[in-house]
Chain length 187, copies 2
Amino acid sequence: MSTTTGRRVSEARERLLRTASALFYAEGIRAVGVDRVVEEAGVTRATFYRHFPGKDDLVVAYLGVVHDAVRDAAGEEAGAARLRRTVGAMTETLCSPGFRGCSFINAAAEFADPDSPVHRAVAAHRGWLSALFATDLAAAGHPDPDGAAAHLMMLRDGAMVAGYLADPEVARATLLRGLDAILDEAG
Amino acid sequence: MSTTTGRRVSEARERLLRTASALFYAEGIRAVGVDRVVEEAGVTRATFYRHFPGKDDLVVAYLGVVHDAVRDAAGEEAGAARLRRTVGAMTETLCSPGFRGCSFINAAAEFADPDSPVHRAVAAHRGWLSALFATDLAAAGHPDPDGAAAHLMMLRDGAMVAGYLADPEVARATLLRGLDAILDEAG
DNA sequence: CCATAGGTAGAACGTTCGGTCTCTTTCTGC
DNA sequence: GCAGAAAGAGACCGAACGTTCTACCTATGG
């Protein structure tokens, strides 16, 4: 077990990932070069390439960070409560300053090739989220969990876009109202 | 009036714009360089820079082409009919092969700076579309045209994303059903 | 018939891109 | 105290980026 004691899982790697996440989200992925990330992380190029095979891997790691945050916000036990918690967390993010839309939707806009690792990561997250919605809806006794999950996913996507390019408060209220309506269809 | 007779408003310019539109939409704006556009349009760099001050202007022109197409699909006389026609045209696009989402949402993902000409063009189109929705809703006798327009805009945005990253048929049906529900609130 | 505008052709600009390299320093575990 | 991994410093690569340039050709309109 007891692996390298000192700086645990590489302090430089964490700084790299944190810096890249902020930059990619705020300015766009293709708009930010490796130079920028490396410089603002206070790390040398050599160090970057020791931790990541290439820029694409950094992008995938960035999306992994966002995915983990959503997963952690959701929690464990399936049901209407988790659904409200998950969607509630989204509406919080939606209205916070610096919100620039959904990381995954934005990434898919930049990486069109379905075979690209980045595009695959987007598809994986969206598949996971849809499945979570469907599971919770089923646990809440919804007669058509899959259809309702697809519907809810669309509402969420619209809210994410509107939170960036329109009024976040309206987006928040509309998404919450939509969730209530879907939950009303269940028991 | 009678300006240059021959090739009307510059054949080369039109080829440039057509090629750029296809490329930008299919692969992303930052992913496509001037070299690619110029080469695939069968035109030299000098010709490109005689017609466009720079790449940004080409991007804005591309968004203008898309905007014009939406405007033409909408038509003139305000009301429920125009609303159905406009949204109906969107659901057609949504389900057609090669659909890669909304040009404006995708452009905003790549151009984060609100002062950028590209971001401004996105905001302008979205403002125009929201206003069109509100006008039609008001003409149809909706009690809260602005609120309903914001709601419809969110449904549209969600459908655009879902048409690209999820099931287009579901997106189409859900958007159409949402429009009906909103129209039911009116007379 | 000549001026002019729009086109082609293609070299070149400086910058940035993603990525690789060598050399030295620092820290940890044995 | 010494081996070895992790990181710093920074030069370097070829390619692509957006952009500018000169030179020549070819239509038109006056």
